[in-house]
Structures are given as structure tokens and as C-alpha cells.
Symmetry: C2
Subunit: 388 residues, 2 copies
């Protein structure tokens, strides 16, 4: 029986004493079992098993001055994709780090204050912020701080959440269909770099192509905001296409259009973002942008790890080996669904040849064995909400 009645976990000294060696030897055993003479190793092994010994990680951290912990800072209450966080956690674990997720109330200032505190408490070796912060990792006495989705000093996109380039593709595509007046219902600009970036690209692209924007409604990722944005449009509005902050917003936009007696996509084309499964099964199904959350989470942690190790930042554009984005190409266009019964069945759609285009404008297909070198979110024109 390896049971112990003491509430207190065994210490290294107790193991040493049971094994009849010094605690130094036990410590050495923990670091590298092969550095011990076989006979000694067996004794220590036995003692460790018997006492069910686990080293006290706090004490170890104290001595090594390494906590092996990272923090991920999020805005309070944000409905963050579990996959992203899970992938981030896993990547960190594989590198020997634990991840602590800290949710902070308030805006960028509050987050920054918390990060500052965290950075100097000696508890974590690096911090990853998925929401905008005001402080940069420029101060002294600090551990590395990486803001995912932000732009770096040279204003180059750092990929990950920042990649808003699909917005360009979407608008170009819709313009090609004849759309001239657009509306953007953004996500939460204050707390999400991704929302900021998309808004910026939206405005730039509309401008560049000589199109008209009926405005940008600064949203909060809510469907209600999308709904209200549409119902607030004046009768006789020129708007025929909406770029929504995400699928939830898009669903509100669609419902708003239907409530006005408009058809989607007949009278209004609507684009979402995130390729949420629920949007794919909505009626009409949403045209959207597929983003590889797992790759994002992985890439963000890898960038932080590189900073910690003092290595150069991993290529934001991704390498073939470790792409920051893995395109999803399992969408295919369906016939527009304007009434019941629907003529398209989502379950059969994935069986058809995919027809997504990437932000780079390259056609992709599952059947091409080797993926192209560029990775990024994949615009899926396969939904019923955008028209063809």
C-alpha cells in the first residue's frame, strides 16, 4: 500500500532518508536518473514510489528562478474560442510551460495595469495579450509581453488575429457582383485588435476601389447590433452588401433584413466571419471567413516563446513546417435558399469539391496534394447569404 495518512506531501528529505542517501542525490535523480549508480537509483526509485513523492514545484521555481508559467490576458467576458486557448495551452505545455488565463475587467488601461502587476510578480515568464493593451514591452524589469493581433513597429501585420486581408477579398468579390454601397458592422473596436484591423481594411478597400460606404457601425459582436444597424437604415437606402464583424453579427443583420421584408441575398448580401458551425446550418447559411483558431493559438504562443528565449520571432507569414494558418477548404457553394423547402443540404455540401479562394486570390482545392506556401484565413463564398 502506498497510502500515506499524513496530509502533508513528502519532501525530498524524507525520500532521501528512506533511501539512505543525501537529498542532493534525490534531486539529482529527479534531474537525470542516469547520473546515479544503478544501485543508488533503485533505492531512490523505491523511496519515491513508496512515499508517492512529487517535487514541490514552488520550491523548485524559487531556486531555479524559473516558474515555467505563462499568462494569457483576455478581456473580461469575451467569448473566446476554446480551440484557440486549448491550442495555446497545449503548445505551451509541450514547451514545458503551464498557462494561466487571466480575465481582466475594463478596457486597455485596466488590462495593462494587470499585466504590469503580473509581469513583476515573478510568477510568470511571459505574457500574451489577446486584447489590445496600452503598455508595450519596452519597460525594464519585465518579462516578455506579446500582444497578439497587434501590428509591430514597422506596421507589418503580425498575422494571427490581425489578419484582416480577407475583408479586401470579400469587398472585391462583392464589387465584382455589382455591389456599390457597403455597410460595415464592426466588432468591439476597443477591446479587439481583430475588429480594429478589419475596420481599417474595410475603409481602405472601399476607398481604394472607389466604392461607397454607408458607414461603419461600431459594434460589440452582438447580433442585436447587427439587427439594429439594418433596421436603422433609411427606406430606399443604397446599401446592398454588409460586412459583419462575425457570424453572430451577420445573423442579426440577416434577421434585420428579413424583418424589413428584404431577401438575403436577393436584396442584401451579408458576409460573416469565423465560419461558426451554427452559421453554416442557419437559413440562409452564412458566407463567412474560416480562420484556423488552433494555428493562431499555436503561433501566438510560439511568438512569445521566441521572445522568452531571445530567438528571432517566428515568421509571421508562416513556414511550411509550422504555418500560422491552415486553410480550411471544406466549404462549397450551395444554391441560394430563398424559401422552403431548402434545396441544399449542408451535410452533403462537404462532399462536393470545395471552391474557396484564399486571401491571396489563389484557387485551392483539396485535390491538390501540396498546399501553396502562403497560409491565411480562407474566404468561404459558399454560404447562401452573399449571392453569386
Amino acid at each position: 500500500m502506498a497510502e500515506s495518512t499524513s496530509r502533508r506531501p513528502a519532501t525530498i528529505h524524507e525520500v532521501a532518508s528512506l533511501a539512505g542517501v543525501s537529498h542532493t542525490t534525490v534531486s539529482r535523480y529527479l534531474q537525470d536518473k542516469d547520473s546515479l549508480k544503478p544501485k543508488t537509483r533503485v533505492k531512490v526509485e523505491f523511496a519515491v514510489k513508496t512515499l508517492d513523492y512529487r517535487p514541490n514545484l514552488v520550491a523548485r521555481s524559487m531556486r531555479t528562478r524559473h516558474t515555467n508559467r505563462l499568462a494569457i490576458v483576455l478581456a473580461y467576458g469575451m467569448h473566446f474560442p476554446g480551440r484557440l486557448l486549448a491550442a495555446a495551452s497545449r503548445t505551451a505545455h509541450e514547451a514545458g510551460y503551464q498557462v494561466e488565463i487571466v480575465s481582466v475587467e475594463g478596457g486597455p488601461a485596466a488590462r495593462s495595469a494587470r499585466i504590469d502587476e503580473l509581469a513583476r510578480s515573478g510568477q510568470v515568464e511571459g505574457i500574451l495579450a489577446f486584447s489590445p493593451i496600452t503598455l508595450k514591452g519596452k519597460k525594464t524589469n519585465r518579462v516578455p509581453i506579446v500582444e497578439s493581433g497587434a501590428y509591430d513597429d514597422k506596421l507589418h501585420s503580425l498575422a494571427e488575429l490581425a489578419d484582416a486581408t480577407p475583408v479586401r477579398e470579400i469587398i472585391e468579390y462583392l464589387a465584382g457582383l455589382g455591389h456599390r454601397t457597403f455597410l460595415h458592422v464592426s466588432g468591439d473596436i476597443e477591446n479587439f485588435a481583430s475588429a480594429r484591423n478589419r475596420k481599417r481594411v474595410y475603409l481602405e478597400t472601399v476607398e481604394r476601389l472607389g466604392l461607397r460606404s454607408a458607414g461603419v457601425v461600431d459594434g460589440d459582436w452582438s447580433a442585436q447590433r447587427g439587427f439594429d444597424a439594418i433596421t436603422a437604415l433609411p427606406d430606399g437606402t443604397d446599401v446592398t452588401a454588409v460586412v459583419a464583424g462575425n457570424d453572430v453579427v451577420a445573423m442579426g443583420v440577416v434577421r434585420g433584413a428579413l424583418a424589413r421584408g428584404w431577401s438575403v441575398p436577393g436584396d442584401l448580401s451579408v458576409f460573416g466571419w469565423d465560419d461558426e458551425e451554427i452559421g453554416r446550418f442557419a437559413t440562409p447559411s452564412l458566407s463567412t471567413v474560416a480562420v484556423d483558431r488552433e494555428a493562431q493559438g499555436r503561433a501566438a504562443i510560439q511568438r512569445l516563446l521566441a521572445e522568452i528565449r531571445g530567438e528571432p520571432a517566428p515568421d509571421a507569414a508562416g513556414t511550411e513546417d509550422q504555418p500560422p494558418h491552415i486553410p480550411r477548404v471544406d466549404r462549397t457553394p450551395t444554391e441560394p435558399l430563398t424559401g422552403l423547402p431548402p434545396s441544399a443540404r449542408p451535410s452533403t455540401r462537404t462532399a462536393t469539391a470545395p471552391s474557396c479562394i484564399t486571401p491571396r486570390g489563389r484557387a485551392r482545392s483539396r485535390r491538390t496534394a501540396k498546399p501553396a506556401h502562403s497560409y491565411g484565413p480562407v474566404v468561404c463564398f459558399g454560404g447562401d447569404s452573399c449571392g453569386v
Copy 2:
């Protein structure tokens, strides 16, 4: 300028030396500023400010044998409500604890192993599992482990995620409308206590009322599973009502029905769960169950804190002061939406008198100033997907 060029944070000894006192005094200052003579306090204060000193929390933990950290264990990749985690974090912070969120791949066994490891590493003082685990907090050498959503030894519901009672209400309601044959597309039974509980209540209720169940499709929270479950039904099936694991699944069910040429709710009534905003704006909007995620997160942490402190568990049924659930009553029925254009506008629905009933079967209304004493998830029959 309070800037320091050293990369290394200041230690308590450096503060002491600058202030001209012993480090003991500095430590005392950190614990209780008033225990110092005013003159001394000023000196220490100055030194702390000057060096921008923050105590090393790892060292403190080592000495006090308190880490002030809790861990929340989740199944890998689960799309967990941000609000729940945020509320849990906040509640913990208010009690002086940091929260670490650990995402574990694999099923209950893998989670349990990770929890075991965590429990004895000395890194956390308590563990909260939102997903089922196999080990119980019965072993020695352990910190308290609370499994949220599980049933306690006496098989009493521990509220929180476990509260599946609305399933009973839903079925009774649908039976009252004349439905006789039901189908349940469950959530992920293996990794979610909530899915287990709902399935159990579903089977019990159908049995008790002498109704028929066409079966339970063990799902994975995916819309695809919901879609497939419906398209797999034989022609001429008796099923007229579906209880879905959540709103995503429900959306798949609805789409599957539409794909078969059925109308919802005309031919099939569908109930979701979670009251996700996107489902409210879907067409048809979903009948669903509103759950207060923030209250759940709060309650779960409070239960863990009580265990840590050796206090009796907080009342699972909730107190007036700190209810585990706060009913949401902002839903109101809309006319069934069977074609376009829709006759109901979601945005106006919240303005009308709510007509939700609680799991206890009591009518609620915003206009009753004082809420009833019982708290729990609120069944919202206000969606378009269930019929009236």
C-alpha cells in the same frame, strides 16, 4: 525618475538597505503598514517607490505555503462560455486567488491524471473540474477538488451545470401541445456532466409521462450531428419534437428538418439550450433555455473556496443573497415564422411582456418587482421553433 536599468527586479533586501532598516521591517510593512512607526514607514515607503519594488510572489508562496492559486480543468477544445470562466476568475480574484485554466486532452481518465499531478505539485490550493473526472477528492495528500455539475454522494443535484430540470418542463409543455414521440440529440455525454444529466432527465420524463422516445442520439454538441439525426429518421417517423443538446445542435436539427421539406415548428418542434444570441436571431428563432453562466461560474468557485476553508458547502439551491442562477426573463413569444418576410422582429420582442416560466413552473414577469425565492435556468418558450 523611478527607472531602473537592472533587468532583475529589486529584492526585499535592497529595499531594506536603501531605507536603512532590516528586511524584516520591510516585510512587516508589506503585511501591515500601520505596524510601523510613522517615521520608519515613510522611509520604507520611499525605498519601495524608488526601487519600484514588488514582492516576489513565488518566494512568498514558498514561505507561507500558500500559493493563492486555483486551477480550473476543462476538456480540450471545449468551446466554453467566456462569461462563466470570467465570472469564476473574478470571484476567485475577489477572494485573493489567481485562477489557472488547464485544458486537458483526452477523456475523464486523462483529466483525472492531470488533476492528480496538479493537486500534488503544490502549485494550486484547489481544483475545479467543469468536466467529468474519475477520481474523487477522497485520497490523501490532496488539495480540495470540486467537480462542477456532478451529483454529490446523496445524489442531490449540485445545481450549476447539473441542473437539467428544464428538460422536464420542456417535455411536459410539448406533451401538453399534443406531442407524443420525442427524439433527444444529446451533447457530449462522455465529457460533460450537463449532457449526462439532461439525457437522464429526458429518459426519465418520457418514461414517467408514458410518452415515446424514438431514441437518444449521443452527440458531440455539433450541428452536424443534429442535422444527421434528422435526416436519418425514416420516412413516416412519428417524431414531432426534438430536445437538442444546445442551440448549435438545435440549429442543425432545424436545418435537417427544412432539408426534408418539413416545416418548423409546423411539422417538427425543436428545443435548444443556452439561449445563445445567435439562435434568437435565427430564422426560425430557437426555443431554448436561458442559463446564467456568470452565476454558475461564481457558484462553482464559491463551492471550491468553501471546501478550501473547511466551511460547509454553500446552499446549492442558492440564497436570496447569492443565487446560483439568476433567471433571465427577457424573452417573449413571437408569431411562428414560416416564410419570408418574417412577421416578427427580434428587436421588438424584448420590449413586450416576457412570458417565461421557470423550471418550478411559476410564471415570472419583469413587472413583479420581487423575484421568487427559487432560482434556476429559465425555459424560454418564446422562440419560433417550438410552436404554441
